[in-house]
Amino acid sequence: MAIFDIIGPVMIGPSSSHTAGANRIGYMAALCYGKPFHSVEIKLYNSFASTGFGHGTDQAIVAGLLGFKMDDERIPYAFEIAKERSLAYNFRKSYKRDHHPNEVRIVFHRGSAHSFLIRGVSIGAGKAKITQVQEDNVSFGGDHAVLLLNYKDITGMIGFIGGILGKHQVNVAYMQTSRNALKGTAMAMLKLDEECPNDAIVELKNHSDMHRVISIRKLNNEY
């Protein structure tokens, strides 16, 4: 937090957590998914579910998915614009204590077989975090560029990843890894000082044991 979090952000009202933060989740989720999509299922939890309507939480999330940021005056018209762009969406509500008060679960659909799950939470002052991407638990806001890697748990993968990033002069600020089982599927979440260049992403993707590479740019200095 700093001065532009006090005098700012510039945002569409009425609520920094229920409107701006909700929008941020939709925006980051679409960046994460990174492909065109025709349909989304959105589940609102707890406080988002109970007071979301009066705060435009629903419009703000759809606006974020359409690529509109929290200061975009198209947010109140997000449903109409989604219709024009043939984006289908539906909302469900859930009240569960083991979920964050301001949580959203978004499932992207492209065709009938393909679906992709992203979960996020609004943490106040217009800030938000993505907490789940498919089966992987993650945690990132827009403060750093992020690289999410999903790969087979075999020896040498971390070295391989570090080697490529080093070669492309990308500095790693934080790194977190986990796996579902020995020799199963592993994931790494890397927070970077600058966005990972395309060439590096291609090299990472080319490894035969790499399942998925997601690269998200830094949002810190944007609204």
Partner: protein, 306 residues
């Protein structure tokens, strides 16, 4: 002035820390200190930090105009063209303290109502309290025809004072009640107003301390969970309180309890407040018979729409 090199990362927890930095390193005054603070901590060049504040203040001014272009009405009916009615009726109403006082009220209403109607505002520090800074500070700037550069300088100081509240307590109604939102907005606005006339950390601090102390204990009890009532009217309380506190500080009055300690008191009070009075709509005005009736009406509309 010292010639010691300014460190790459500036950390502050109190006004004493700010004084220490100002004494130890070659900052060109309080505004320059907070611009450096933002620049170094956000890894943005100083001129970009300045430009960003320039565009922020422009949007803040636009929000006053936009809030006045038409009657602002929300689906709940809790916001029902108040600003519009106020401006239409004031010419024929007894004017208690003159046109500028009424301008503070109408400018604050305009921005707060615009926020409730999903318009574009500057959260300062929060969306729920976004009417205070434009309503009080920008109205004073207009009255005294303050040059834009000076306005921007004051907003950096206000941001710095708000940063100290954020670091030591919070700015969130759900954590510490309305005192953290409108109380903090009023405190930083008071500091901004003082700094338009005198960049004295003592007076700035005193204005913020008095403004915040006046609103300690203010609870967050929004009817139907909406940022509408009492939020919009409480912004007016924040604006008027900011101006009164700034006027007192400029006239040399001081707060017996220093700003840093008032902030700690706010945190303690906020922690002690029951959850029912922290943005849950389970107490206060929200659970009055009328408040509950409005909530039922709003929730019914809600289930039809989602």
């Amino acid at each position: 002035m010292s010639t010691k090199e300014i460190p790459n990362r500036i950390r502050i927890r109190s006004t004493q820390d700010v004084r220490h930095y100002l004494k130890t390193y070659p900052f060109k005054g309080l505004t320059d200190f907070f611009i450096e603070y933002e620049s170094r901590n956000r890894l943005l060049p100083k001129d970009e930090v300045y430009k960003r504040m320039q565009s922020t203040i422009k949007i803040m001014k636009e929000s006053i105009e936009k809030g006045k272009t038409k009657a602002n009405i929300t689906p709940s009916g809790l916001i029902n063209g108040g600003c519009d009615t106020f401006m239409k009726n004031t010419p024929d109403t007894v004017s208690l303290l003159g046109d500028w006082f009424n301008a503070v009220i109408s400018n604050t209403l305009a921005v707060s109502e615009l926020n409730a109607c999903m318009g574009r505002i500057v959260a300062s520090p929060t969306a729920g309290a976004c009417g205070v800074m434009p309503g009080a500070f920008l109205t004073i700037c207009e009255k005294f025809e303050i040059p834009e550069e000076r306005q921007i300088q004051s907003l950096f100081i206000a941001g710095g004072i708000g940063e100290l509240i954020q670091i030591n307590a919070s700015l969130s109604g759900s954590q510490h009640g309305c005192q953290a939102e409108v109380g903090s907005a009023s405190a930083i606005t008071a500091s901004a107003i003082v700094s338009l006339f005198e960049i004295s950390l003592d007076k700035i601090e005193n204005a913020a301390a008095m403004a915040l102390a006046n609103l300690l204990g203010l609870v967050c009890d929004p009817v139907a969970g909406l940022v509408e009532f009492p939020c919009v009217n409480r912004n007016i309380a924040g604006s008027v309180n900011a101006i009164a506190s700034a006027q007192m500080a400029l006239a040399g009055l001081t707060s017996p309890i220093p700003f840093d300690e008032v902030v700690c008191a706010m945190k303690q009070i906020g922690d002690d407040l029951p959850a029912s009075l922290k943005e849950t709509s389970r107490g206060g005005l929200a659970t009055t018979p009328t408040g509950l009736r409005i909530q039922r009406k709003v929730r019914n509309v809600d289930s039809e729409n989602m």
